[in-house]
């Protein structure tokens, strides 16, 4: 009998000791520390706005009391777009700084470099700033990772469906960046065309470290295609527009979302870009369409107050959209914020009121469907800015 009582007492003591909650790294009663990496220098430095926009939004939220009284600190580190540096920076953020989660890191290879480590360490990798479908698709292997923007392969499919409907006799030429990013766009296009894959008469890849792509464009023109898909990045997209124009080639041009930022499109002469198509999921701060929109007014006021001196553009808006979703997720995760609760929240999203994405887009996730934004609209470049047309389209991978 005495032994039994002693055993029960011991057991109770042991379970009481074990029941003491282990502190969640990066979370205190009044703060949450979030980490991320972004190219502040190097070839992709133009995209730095993604982090800065998010940072501004967090400051805005903090000024209103934060999330359940916790203020969000967003520590983002420059990785120069190099996966090696991303890897080290994230190791440091997790092991040294003890961040709660990694958020909004930019770059496909960059996120792939840190995914294994983060999943092994049980650190959430939230709202990856890359459209590679692997970040949503491989959830079984990497349960702590979730993407955000529409995937590149879904984007390719949207274009395919549009062409099949509106230009069934198209002869398609494709210029693509010769890496995962470009190749996924191409495979999405091919998958979307299905049996009509043969509509693609020529595709040419280019080296992302090259200086110009005119030779590739000339080769594509020689195929006599009447649709020209530009699956490129930054300045190469501009060069492709200009080269096509200079060669006297006037196909229907389709340019991928990432290369379609208004600030970039405006670098090409209007004659070269008029009529080009793309998709979009966010509200464009550089165009006239959303000037009076409440969401964009919020965007501008947040930028003015918390990111003074910086020029807002599409990247900042995209970052702010992701930040909005993160705040939403943190709220859903509840007062008792743990890494597990935030992942549960992130995989059960049903966000209808993100002010920075197109009206009607619902940011939805389930544990098996980890593609938060999977709706887009088509837009056409007309007289110096993007004009939306058509309904909301599905961009499910």
């Amino acid at each position: 009998m005495k032994v039994a009582v002693a055993a029960v007492v011991l057991l109770a003591a042991a379970s009481a000791a074990g029941a003491r909650p282990v502190a969640t790294p990066g979370v205190t009663s009044n703060s949450i520390l979030i980490g991320g990496t972004i190219p502040l220098t190097g070839e992709a430095a133009a995209a730095a706005g993604v982090a800065r926009g998010a940072e501004a939004y967090f400051k805005y939220v903090n000024a209103r009391g934060g999330v359940f009284g916790r203020k969000i600190t967003y520590k983002y580190v420059d990785d120069g777009y190099e996966p090696q540096r991303t890897f080290l920076a994230v190791r440091q953020l997790v092991q040294q700084d003890g961040v709660f989660a990694i958020f909004n890191s930019l770059g496909t290879s960059n996120n792939a470099a840190i995914r294994g480590f983060l999943n092994q360490a049980g650190v959430p990798q939230l709202f990856v700033a890359s459209g590679a479908s692997t970040f949503g698709r491989d959830a079984k292997k990497y349960p702590w990772t979730i993407g955000y923007i529409p995937t590149y392969s879904a984007e390719g499919r949207v274009y395919a469906r549009y062409l099949l409907k509106r230009k069934p006799g198209a002869k398609i030429a494709v210029l693509y960046q010769d890496d995962d990013y470009g190749k996924e766009l191409v495979s999405g296009l091919q998958a979307g065309l299905g049996k009509k894959k043969g509509l693609i008469v020529k595709k040419v890849g280019y080296d992302p470290t090259a200086s110009d792509v005119r030779s590739e464009v000339a080769a594509l023109k020689a195929s006599k295609a009447n649709v020209f898909m530009i699956f490129a990045f930054g300045k190469f997209a501009i060069q492709a527009f200009i080269a096509a124009n200079q060669l006297g080639w006037r196909p229907q041009i389709v340019v991928n979302d990432v290369a379609a930022a208004t600030s970039l499109m405006q670098l090409s002469p209007p004659k070269a870009t008029e009529g080009a198509l793309s998709i979009v999921f966010g509200k464009d701060p550089d165009g006239p369409t959303w000037k009076r929109d409440k969401g964009m007014k919020l965007f501008r006021s947040v930028m003015k107050r918390y990111a003074a001196g910086q020029t807002p553009n599409g990247y900042y808006a995209a970052g702010m959209a992701a930040a909005y979703t993160l705040v939403d997720t943190l709220k859903k995760a509840g007062k008792n914020l743990t890494r597990k609760s935030v992942m549960t929240a992130a995989t059960h999203l049903n966000e209808k009121s993100n002010p920075f994405v197109l009206p009607g887009i619902r940011i939805r996730t389930t544990p098996s469907d980890r593609f938060p934004i999977s709706q887009v609209r088509l837009e056409r470049w007309h007289k110096g800015h993007w004009v939306l047309f058509g309904p909301l389209l599905s961009a499910k991978p």
Binding site: T41, E43, A45, S211, S215, N245, L247, G248, L267
Partner: protein, 293 residues
């Protein structure tokens, strides 16, 4: 056949870009026997300076001239302050020094102007011109033309002016040149100044095509080296011919030999460097140097 002629024409246009930077590389080599790995970055920096002048309302040709002058002065200063002290030291020291300059100048450009891509105007029209079935723009012709004109001016300078003669003498035989009164030190500085100015020209020709950003010349540098090596490192004419030839050859290879598309162009450029250095190190236009024991 249409595509062939188009690729040749596009190749000449790209080749013009390689040639213009190759010229700068060759001038430095010719005057101090050194390869300046930072040549591309210096050209980019100068182009950004030009952009700043244009942005402040100065019109094109005055901005162009001002940039050239500053680039020239910068090159001279660089040689006197940074390269002079390591004259005569082992090759490796100088190579490492220019690599340090590469890192430094690239960093400075990023720091001052940031990483965003900018437009840069061209003095030439970008209207397409059709010759038969091939199309190119006046701008492409302009780039090639400027390279050819630079080479012609340089050749005249080296052959027919006292200064040019002094430069050549100082490069070939410093000791004896000093004996006949050539200010060898200033000749070397002049060479670097000229090269910096040529680099600035190259940058301002190239930026309208590839758009101005701090890493603009990195895609060109290897091809510029290949062009310089192909032409014979000490020959300005060789640099231009080498550049144009390289542009055409790489384009044709890329179009007709599927292995050489996309990223493999770089391997093509490397192949040229290796082939020339191993088979005929003096390139197409160089002369064999005799090493005295």
């Amino acid at each position: 056949m249409t595509e062939f002629s188009q690729q040749v024409v596009s190749g000449l246009a790209s080749g013009g870009i390689y040639a213009s930077l190759a010229l700068a590389v060759v001038i430095v080599y010719r005057s101090s026997g050194v390869i300046n790995f930072a040549q591309g970055e210096m050209a980019t920096f100068a182009t950004f300076l030009a952009w700043t002048f244009l942005h402040h309302g100065i019109s094109y040709w005055p901005a162009f001239a001002l940039t050239l002058a500053i680039a020239f002065a910068g090159g001279v200063a660089l040689e006197r302050v940074v390269i002079r002290p390591v004259e005569g030291r082992p090759v490796l020291t100088v190579v490492i020094l220019t690599i340090g300059l590469l890192i430094l100048v690239n960093g400075a450009t990023q720091w001052i102007w940031g990483g965003a891509t900018r437009k840069f105007p061209s003095p030439f029209s970008t209207r397409p011109v059709h010759v038969g079935s091939a199309a190119f723009s006046i701008q492409d012709l302009g780039i090639v033309g400027v390279s050819l004109a630079s080479v012609a001016l340089l050749t005249l300078f080296f052959r027919f002016t006292k200064l040019g003669l002094g430069l050549r003498a100082a490069a070939v035989n410093p000791e004896e040149s000093r004996l006949v009164g050539v200010r060898v030190g200033w000749m070397l500085a002049l060479g670097w100044g000229l090269a910096a100015a040529l680099g600035a020209v190259s940058g301002m020709m190239v930026a309208p095509v590839v758009f101005l950003d701090p890493n603009m010349m990195q895609g060109v540098l290897l091809y510029a080296f290949a062009a310089a090596v192909l032409g014979g490192l000490a020959s300005p004419v060789g640099a231009v011919v080498g550049g144009l030839a390289l542009g055409v050859v790489l384009n044709l290879l890329g179009t007709y030999v599927s292995t050489f598309g996309g990223q493999m162009r770089l391997v093509g450029g490397l192949g040229v460097i290796l082939a020339v250095l191993l088979i005929r190190p003096t390139g197409l236009f160089g002369r064999t140097a005799v090493r005295r024991v």
